[in-house]
Symmetry: C2
Subunit: 554 residues, 2 copies
């Protein structure tokens, strides 16, 4: 069967736009000769719709849009797509996460999702009732089983120690499915793509059944959907791999079990695409996440402060690559402690990016504040207050620009800073989006080197000088923090591998340092609660994927 | 049976402190002659522990603490308490929300929660596996059924249209329970207490079985647990009502079905306590939420800006009542647009509260910023930028005080402002806690009048003058917003009753105004994402109880 994969980038709540795009893809699929076209999970409303699902009118508009597609679609192609449906049973949550087959302008088969992810960034049990049973349907001689996203992941959750009560894919195979189709909305993180492929190809290897996996693409707040839809053969071989981080309509010839599928592309090329380097992939994820956040929020321009340090340099490069140099404005906001080198480095970077570096020195404002606070602070020593003050003056200037020019301010903090609280709330944490807030400092360096691979964009000085906030004379980050190599190793074990102090120490890290870092992380929760959304690129990012109380014993 | 109700205020993660308090209460209960003492849901670790549950060491410490209580408790009393246990079945989430009976230093019966709230602020399906079956146990001649918090709420959820698959209380009664005991952690909102009583007394009325309901007390971030534990007789009559908003150990004689219970207090007095006015209750909830947040975060002092307006006045009164006047510092930060009256009113309020009003004029700082931004803003008109700038200067000054004196800044914004975005991010939204962020403006007035009932604390001028941000000449809130009476009615229907535009219009409100307000609310989501935690006192507050995507079509 000729199956088209409609890897679309929907916008949450844009029913008209999402529906129009799906209709357009359906028409293109017909022209390509497809018998069936498959779209991602919840593609009609966008994913994750979150508590918009509590609004009756949101669910109604999504259903109206389903019916509009039914009425307007060509009759001679099957269409599988995901949407929100009402739960028509007498028990449970009022909605289901549904996928249906449309054919000849009718909804001929519907299935809802059985496994509702309720961990990390996912809250599906908050909204949806799981499917009570699973069924297959006949379409053009194939017995098709629909497994919506997480429905494929029984095995992975079992490995993680949290077993779902049933395995939807097993049930579909038991019912004789000759083809598994999976409309998905699976967010990106580094390495996840490999995991998906292993999981999916096992269905071919163990059951001899091919799988068509159609993933959403696009950024929605913190989440980046990477696309990379794929098809595996009845032997579990990868026969098609879709584009990463962009929309695509692809046609693949799929044969159910017993027959042999023809590859949609050269298998060697497919394997090559899989081996793309991880920093390149990370960069594409961040660019998509940044671009979609800006555009889907209705902005055209962004701006940021360029300190001459590595973090703001990397964010500036990402912004220019995502939006073009004309849409990005950068500011040097030197304090009395900023080195001449920092301004030079920031200027060189701006020149490399083809943009102007605007300068507003903050020293006069800093002196004004010290003057205003003199009586209040009488008898008190200089401390971190004065450092934070400078960061907040910068935040205030950048937000004033945001207000006056309707430009989105980008926050430039990294994950190591957010983790340890080495950042100023309402200062350098200001902004609509924390672009690299899920990259540890060492990963920021890795990404910067990767950006410079073909040509020096980020001046070498920025990569080699010791990192510093330049908020007091001679300050470097390592006055306050352990060396980043060590810090990031601890943070990664703590935050991503979820090891506790004892577990991290067993990895050969000094116990006192481990405990100091954990305490820093836990004490900084109040800052993160007021941080901008972070683009998630790791298995566990700050934000809705990590929910920690503030008032508590650490 | 003589049952003691241990209405404790645990701190999240304070295993030593929580365990010590429980042991102390058990000893006191023995002295009172109790045969059984009941503590709230998850009282060993505090509620809600959120993702701390993902940390193995957190769960282990909670279990160690259970065993410590077992070893140290007197043998001659039964103890029922809530804690986190591992799920020992082969399937599902790794933890359960458990309650056990300890007797003679043994755990003699355990039950886990069946209905896991996963709506509003609750995320229990994220962590816990529900109980596979329900059982009763015999203790001193009563067949006791444990219904942990939400297990009582089948009926209410059914009314709300979201039916749980089973009714735990019905099953316990079917098994012959003669007494229902409910360890709970049920957060306060206005009117909830009545709902609880109706729900619980129906068990007596329909099944002839008394109920012992022990609720947690105390503030944890956004949530305030009100206590108000209660006992209903086998006729469904309220025979005991515990204190609201404070800890208590109370003894009540409870007789199972067929026998008659003796009231723990005078029934008339019980009814009187129930009829306490709602603003009085609201004030106590906010005071507890504020005090516990400050103390559980390890602060001793708070401060805030007093504008001379109603919001900061109410927060100042709450702070002084929560912490005492010595722990509260207030600042007047007049701009060039502040009226003389505002400073006078703020000064009078401070005097009434027995505190000094410190003044820092912001005009010189404002002029410094305008000077620094002159080149950047050349050719642009004055607009909301300059208003936000003044608010951010204030935020920066107040945060500098916070840093220098280790004092927690209180945010003073109300729910109407947070809803419509009539507030400045990183300006008046700065602070560790938004004390009245769940009170509509009209409710702020109601609370202020209630505070003034016995004696004028808040000067009458503050209550009668038109509300204004005083950020431009002659400004009043109603230049930008509909009259608060109208605005708040729309907000309440939209946010709490969850009506859509059509539904609100049907209530007789003008469609264009309703749509304008809804658009304001939805566009301001990005600000609320970076707002401080709000003390929840309504059925639906901003924060984790309302999860809305930012990048989307409105």
């Amino acid at each position: 069967m000729k199956v088209a994969l409609g890897q679309v980038n929907p916008k949450i709540g844009d029913f008209q736009g999402n529906g129009d795009k799906i209709l357009d893809y359906i028409k293109q699929a017909v022209e390509l000769g497809a018998e069936l076209v498959v779209f991602p999970e919840l593609c009609l409303c966008g994913y994750p719709p979150m508590d918009l699902l509590d609004q009756v009118s949101f669910v109604e508009k999504n259903l109206e849009n389903l019916h509009r597609i039914q009425r307007k679609m060509p009759g001679r192609i099957g269409v599988i797509l995901g949407y929100v449906d009402r739960n028509r049973s007498n028990s449970g949550k009022q909605l289901v996460n549904a996928a249906s087959l449309l054919f000849n302008r009718k909804v001929v088969f519907s299935m809802s999702k059985s496994l509702l992810p309720t961990y990390d960034v996912f809250d599906e049990a908050r909204y949806f009732e799981p499917a009570a049973c699973r069924r297959v349907f006949d379409f053009k001689g194939e017995l098709i089983g629909l497994a919506i996203c997480e429905d494929l992941w029984w095995e992975k959750q079992a490995e993680a120690g949290s077993l779902y009560p049933l395995d939807p894919v097993k049930e579909l195979l038991d019912q004789g499915a000759t083809l598994i189709i999976s409309p998905s909305a699976s967010p990106f993180h580094s390495g996840k793509h490999r995991t998906r492929l292993e999981l999916i190809s096992r269905i071919g290897k163990t059951a001899g059944v091919p799988v068509v996996y159609v993933n959403m693409v696009g950024g929605n707040d913190s989440l980046v959907f990477d696309g990379q839809s794929l098809v595996t053969s009845n032997e579990g071989k990868l026969i098609f791999l879709g584009k990463g981080f962009e929309e695509e309509l692809a046609l693949v010839e799929v044969a159910g079990c017993g027959k042999s599928s023809s590859p949609g592309g050269n298998p060697d090329q497919v394997e090559l695409k899989l081996r793309n380097d991880s920093y390149g992939e990370l960069e594409r994820a961040l660019i998509l996440g940044l671009r979609d956040y800006v555009k889907k929020c209705g902005f055209e321009r962004v701006h940021l402060g360029l300190s001459g340090g590595i973090d703001s340099a990397v964010v500036a490069v990402l912004a220019v690559r995502a939006l073009g140099s004309k849409q990005v404005k950068v500011f040097a906001l030197p304090s009395g402690y900023s080195s001449e080198g920092s301004i030079v480095d920031a200027g060189r970077l701006a020149a490399n990016l083809g943009i102007t570096l605007n300068q507003i020195p903050i020293e006069p404002l800093f002196q004004s504040f010290l003057g205003s606070l003199k009586d209040t602070f009488v008898g008190k020593d200089t401390d971190v207050t004065e450092e934070n003050l400078q960061a907040r003056i910068r935040g205030t200037l950048l937000m004033a620009y945001s207000n006056k020019f309707n430009s989105l301010l980008l926050a430039t903090g990294n994950k190591s800073e957010l983790a340890t609280g080495y950042s100023t709330l309402y200062g350098d944490m200001c902004g609509g989006l924390a672009v690299i807030g899920d990259l540890l400092k060492t990963e920021v360096y890795g990404l910067a080197r990767s950006m410079n691979r073909d040509k020096e964009i980020i001046p070498e000085e920025i990569l080699t000088k010791p990192p510093s906030a330049e908020l007091r004379p001679g300050q470097v980050d390592q006055d306050s923090l352990p060396p980043y190599e060590l810090l990031d190793r601890i943070l990664s074990l703590y935050l991503i591998d979820n090891l506790d102090s004892a577990g991290i120490t067993e990895q050969g890290l000094p116990a006192d340092l481990v405990n100091r870092v954990i305490t820093l992380v836990e004490r900084a929760e109040y800052k993160r609660r007021q941080a901008p959304p972070v683009i998630k690129v790791s298995a566990r990012a700050f934000g809705t994927g990590r929910r920690i109380p503030i008032a508590r014993t650490i």
